[in-house]
């Protein structure tokens, strides 16, 4: 490990601890960022990377631990304080005003004025100077809405670095970039490094990490596993550090799929999909995973009728499966539990009862009239089966914990008793106890002959549940893994390797 000299240590994070509703996301993390160095931060989902970034950006405050900039301890009560201290963070979601020009965006909040009017000439000159100093070839008068994602990122970087930033943090900066755009981003980062800026580069893409970084820190389960000079590491060692030496816990013997496949996907194509084959048989849990944008989310939506494929064929029970609406898919016995509970799952104005019932009206009504007695019994039965903890079935769902919200959504679909369950990130952001309960339920489903398509970026969950797993990369099948080859190491490697 490095022992950095204090002069070059720009930012020193020490013993950061942060919990979210009881669960520890960071368990005492140290990190040193030096000027003129690109430092990569790696870890699986849930390792604590985002929490760390948010603390550094003043979005959330640590429960304990300190941050020192150039040897002086600082506290960030809000994002503005972090910015004022010279920390610039480029989040995945860019924060530009689309309708403004580049110059207007760069000046936003600090516009040069003549009396009450904006001094447009000075504004453009400053923008031009700033872009030139960074070697960005951008027209200050171009509207942001007309720029590519890569160019917008440059504007964002120029904006962030404008106010004397000395630490630049990039969160998955290449997720939406083409290879050429990535190249030019790297050129920019090397340039900034030469200017003495400390850069923290957070990414899943390990090949890029090896290309650009000088040192690597790996987080796992809220702890720092280690920091090394990149030159001393290789891909396998980083992956091993990310997933740990943990024994893969499989609590059950492998299931044997019975009968012909229920679902058969051949050469599926779409916005991100470039030809994917997949089958799901009764009684098996098939995993589907990849990095963001690899195509697994699109495939799941398409099977449920919520997105449409541009090519390929899908068969359901041996017949062509063309569904244009979730209502058609659910009538055929397919259920999808979405990953974003609040936006895509819950009806916020309602209580538990109506939220469970909403997908079940075909069975809960006659000629359009709701059978209220049946509805209550169904909601009671399924909320009890999933052990939803609430004061009553009328309790508004938004007042429930994340785990209980997820149970309500699972109950909604389980009550329909579908043949195929598409579970999209079923335990994201959920406490350990509920997570285990959901995992047991998935096991029971498969044991009773139902099928599950598990879409998850949580590799531990994948190992725990899937009978086999299809890993997508750039819209194609990168690898198909079955136990015993189905290990966290193999999964992560399949997702990220070129």
């Amino acid at each position: 490990m490095h022992s950095p000299s204090p002069e070059t240590c720009r930012a020193r994070l020490k013993g950061l601890v942060r919990s979210f509703s009881g669960a520890l996301a960071l368990k005492g993390v140290d990190l040193e960022l030096r000027g003129g160095e690109i430092h990569a931060l790696c870890g699986e989902n849930g390792a604590g990377k985002s929490t760390l970034i948010q603390i550094l950006g003043g979005v959330i405050r640590p429960d304990s631990g300190t941050i020192a900039l150039d040897g002086r301890e600082v506290r960030f009560p809000n994002p503005a304080a972090a910015i004022a201290s010279g920390i610039a963070i480029i989040y995945q979601e860019l924060s530009l005003v689309d309708g403004f020009t580049v110059a207007e965006n760069l000046a936003l909040g600090d516009e040069p004025r003549v009396g009450p009017w904006i001094d447009r000439r000075t504004m453009r000159r400053r923008a031009g100077e700033r872009l030139k100093a960074l070697n960005f070839r951008l027209d200050p008068d171009a509207r942001v809405s007309s720029l590519t994602i890569g160019q917008r990122q440059q504007v964002e970087i120029a904006k962030a670095l404008g106010r004397d930033a000395r630490v630049l943090v990039l969160d998955e900066p290449t997720a939406a970039l083409s290879r050429a755009e990535t190249e030019s981003l790297f050129a920019i980062l090397r340039d900034l490094r030469a200017k003495g800026i400390a850069i923290l580069y957070v990414s899943h893409h390990l090949d890029e990490v090896f290309e650009i970084s000088d040192s690597i820190t790996v987080l796992r389960d809220g702890r720092r596993i280690g920091s090394w000079p990149t030159a001393e590491m290789d891909l396998n060692r980083v992956v091993a550090a990310m997933v740990g030496e943990a024994v893969d816990v499989r609590e059950r013997s492998p299931r044997k799929a019975t009968g012909p496949p229920l679902l058969r996907v051949a050469d599926a194509r779409g916005e991100t999909l470039r030809g994917v084959d997949l089958t799901v048989s009764p009684g098996e849990v098939v995993g589907l995973t990849g990095l963001a944008g690899a195509g697994h989310e699109e495939l799941a939506s398409a099977l449920f009728g919520s997105a449409s494929l541009s090519g390929g064929s899908v068969e359901w029970r041996g017949r062509p499966h063309h569904v244009r609406h979730p209502a058609e898919a659910s009538a055929r016995g397919i259920a999808l539990v979405p990953s974003d509970r609040r936006r895509q799952g819950l009806i916020p104005v309602w209580g538990i009862l109506e939220n469970i019932a909403i997908a079940n009206y075909p069975a809960l009504s006659r000629l359009g009239w709701i059978r209220r007695g049946r509805r209550r019994r169904l909601a009671e039965e399924w909320s009890k089966r999933f052990e939803v903890v609430a004061s009553s079935l009328a309790q508004p769902v938004l007042t429930l914990s994340g785990g209980n919200q997820q149970k309500v959504l699972l109950a909604r679909w389980a009550a329909r008793e579908p043949d195929l369950f598409i579970l999209n990130e079923p335990t994201r952001g959920i406490d350990v106890k509920t997570r285990e309960a959901i995992h047991r339920w998935v096991d029971e489903l498969a044991d009773s002959g139902r099928s599950v398509l598990l879409v998850s970026s949580d590799t531990q969950e994948m190992i725990r549940l899937a009978d086999r797993c299809v890993v997508l990369r750039d819209g194609r099948v990168a690898r198909r893994l079955e136990p015993p080859a189905l290990t966290e190491h193999a999964l992560v490697a399949a997702m990220i390797e070129g």
Binding site: Q344, I347, P348, E354, I358, W369, I370
Partner: protein, 315 residues
């Protein structure tokens, strides 16, 4: 302040208003006579029926500014039919059909084309109103007697219950039943509560949204029938501004402009309350000029109360 306490505070303006209205009513002579009450019901009936239609649109997360114009254009269609001496049934069917069609056009643009509901119904307000002008050649068509049978009422003891008021009550009751007891009603709430989630739960959101606007048009047709039975004249500027009164009634009745919350009974009560307040101001000797001012004030208080009640939901 605890969220629970704050949500109770959010109701205070509504409670306060009801109390104030009651106090004023008791203090005003002749207010609690069957005659006055029946007259309030009747005067509220046209806007009241519109408010029920507006309730469906608002619950589904939409907004309908074209109700008054739909009423005028429907009335114009009936006026033409009346000149050819068509029967009452034909005129009724026309009013309902034209209203449904005009509403469905709004719904098509909002749900299928995905135009903003405010802008869509603002433009159809102008289009329908303009069409009424053209259809009536800019002049009133008077002496329309096809619906005059509705201009009487039931005599119960010494109380006269006009049909218009009864129709308003019937429409309210029907809407209440549909919203509370049918799958369709439940889906309308889901649409306004979270359209994305509703779609992923298997709700046909597009056709449902069209339906909410079509219902608003249908109620405009019914309101046109009530209007013609009352004044027996179709003018190009008939019912100007009624859409705002119907939205106001919904707001006062607790129908949220953000969708998914409220109901038909609330909207009807809101409409009656506003009408009672107006009658009140007139009867209690306040100068007439205060009516508009006070009405606006009341609506603002209720809108603020709704916003306050919603604020603590984002815990």
């Amino acid at each position: 302040m605890s969220p629970r306490l704050r949500s109770q505070l959010g109701r205070i303006p509504q409670i306060l208003l009801i109390v104030v209205a009651l106090v004023l009513m008791v203090q005003t002579e002749r207010f609690f006579t069957p005659g006055t009450l029946a007259s309030i019901l009747t005067q509220a009936s046209i806007v009241g029926v519109l408010a029920i239609g507006q309730t469906f649109v608002l619950l589904g997360g939409g907004f309908d500014l074209s109700q008054g114009a739909m009423l005028a254009l429907t009335a114009a269609a009936v006026a033409h039919l009346n000149q050819w001496e068509a029967g009452t049934a034909a005129c009724l069917a026309t009013a309902a059909g034209v209203g449904l069609l005009l509403g469905a056009i709004n719904g098509f643009f909002v749900a299928v084309v995905r135009a903003n509901p405010f802008v869509t119904t603002l433009s159809t307000l102008l289009i329908y109103r303009g069409a009424a002008f053209i259809a009536l050649e800019g002049r009133p068509f008077s002496n329309i007697r096809v619906f005059q049978v509705l201009d009487s009422g039931l005599q119960i003891g010494s109380t006269h219950l006009p049909y218009r008021g009864l129709i308003f009550l019937a429409v309210t009751f029907a809407a209440w039943i549909v919203l509370r007891l049918t799958v369709f009603g439940q889906h309308v709430y889901a649409l306004g509560g979270n359209a994305d989630a509703a779609r992923l739960a298997g709700v046909r959101t597009t056709r449902l949204r069209i339906a909410t606007f079509a219902i608003s048009g249908l109620t405009a047709g019914v309101a046109a029938v009530l209007f013609l039975s009352w004044l027996r004249v179709a003018k190009p500027d008939t019912a100007t501004g009624y859409e705002l009164d119907s939205i106001a009634a919904c707001v006062v009745g607790g129908v949220s402009l953000q969708g998914g919350r409220g109901g038909a009974l609330g909207a009807a009560a809101g409409c009656l309350l506003l009408q009672a307040l107006r009658t009140q101001i007139t009867m209690s000797g306040f100068p007439e000029e205060y009516r508009t001012f006070v009405t606006g004030l009341v609506i603002l208080v209720f809108a603020a109360a709704d916003a306050l009640a919603r604020r603590n939901e984002r815990v």
